[in-house]
Amino acid sequence: MNLTLKIWRQKDSNTKGQMVDYKVTEISEHMSFLEMMDVLNEQLVNSGEEPVAFDHDCREGICGMCSMYINGEAHGPDRGVTTCQLHMRMFKDGDTITIEPFRAAAFPVIKDLVVNRSAFDRIQHAGGYISVNTSGNTQDANATPISKHAADEAMDAATCIGCGACVASCKNSSAMLFVGAKVSQYALLPQGQVEATDRVKNMVAQMDLEGFGNCTNTGACEVECPKGISLDNIARMNRELIKATLS
């Protein structure tokens, strides 16, 4: 297929960017979206131009590095996939595809489609852990049985890959799905109870400090999340914070 691409180009964080049009030809429908971008970049390099910078690494939907806003949706029109798992069979010959970086004040653009998501790391530093040392003397793994239901739910929350699609899709650039998933994972497990109060307070405080918006429960994050993280995690975080405040 032949396609027209409208891509956000921005030299660095201090320069203003703009949308630039490109054409690519002979794209196979079996290609992944990033392989299509590789074709464009090879084309640009061969003609001496600078290739489009974009984040990507594992290309199997788990590292959370890729982050494109394609035709008005984070990770494009398919559901349950990251950009690297999006395939060109979702598009038609002659289509125009708009490609932008994930946008949020807390995710400043580094170059072209690459954004800085270290705000997510800083939220985790504020409490995304259980304080246990690697002494080799922790209790036996089976000493505390955990119900399968709780373990499975914790796992579902823990599958978050930290890509930021939730923030990008949210009309308020809220990070609550990301933070809610982490708070939930620990809130659901007995190991997480000891520090539960401080954890939720500190993580929410850091989230606010980073300049993410307020959640208004539109649910866009849940729909666009490549890992299907449930909105329940936000509700659970709200509850945890209310509990922590009242206790």
Partner: protein
């Protein structure tokens, strides 16, 4: 605690708490108004009680006004804060792919409802206050001089719904209220953490509430308009 209400989640909770209060108020307002269709006498009596009981007038009424004002101001504050959290907007954004129109436009349905409330105040609240506290007529009678006169509330209500333009404005406002509630009801419970594991049920109740209440108000308005 004050720190809590400065946090993003605290603001959500504040929004939700004021919403709960307003939704509860709406429910009782609806119930009383419905009486005007089925039992005008009872409607008159309850209206008189509500209009003259000092607890309702001097405790609940200010709280209600505060609730309404708080909900609006908080809504605006959130909207402004949220728009600041994305400085460059998308060239192409397909919001309808992942969320409902209602959820994305709460500020607009809210503003429309605000406009309606102003109209509603001009229609009912200001004349009420004028009659009771400026003129000083606390009798609630159509003719305060006449001992046998009936209550004025039902008459005033039906009188307002003669004008088809006003009826149309009310109907439109109620439709927008319905849209506001369609998202707002479940959203309030979600903000309070009450939807974990029962989101579907809450959504069904929310849909029912957001259809039944505004539709009921519309029926009341149309009933009185057509019955005149």
């Amino acid at each position: 605690m004050s720190g809590f209400f400065k946090s993003s989640i605290g603001r959500k909770v504040a929004m939700a708490l004021s919403a709960f209060f307003l939704m509860f108020f709406l429910l009782q307002h609806f119930a009383i108004n419905m009486l005007s269709v089925f039992n005008p006498d009872l409607f008159n009596e309850i209206s008189h009680f509500m209009g003259t009981n000092p607890l309702v007038q001097f405790a609940l009424q200010p709280v209600l006004i505060f609730g309404v004002v708080f909900h609006f101001i908080m809504g605006f504050v959130l909207e402004i804060k949220n728009s600041k959290s994305r400085q460059v907007s998308y060239a192409k954004n397909n919001g309808s792919a992942n969320s409902t129109w209602m959820s994305r436009n709460m500020i607009w349905s809210g503003l429309a409802i605000l406009a309606f409330i102003i109209l509603h105040f001009i229609d009912f609240w200001i004349p009420e206050i004028n009659t009771k506290y400026i003129v000083g007529d606390m009798s609630g009678k159509l003719d305060p001089e006449l001992a046998t006169s009936g209550f004025r509330y039902y008459e005033e209500l039906t009188h307002k719904f003669i004008n088809p333009i006003r009826v149309a404005a009310y109907v439109i406002a109620f439709v927008l209220l319905g849209l506001h509630l369609a998202h707002g009801f479940t959203s309030a419970f979600q903000s309070m953490g009450g939807t974990v594991g029962r989101k579907k049920t809450m959504q069904i109740i929310g849909k029912a509430y957001s259809v039944i209440i505004p539709l009921g108000f519309i029926i009341i308005a149309l009933y009185h308009h057509l019955n005149h």
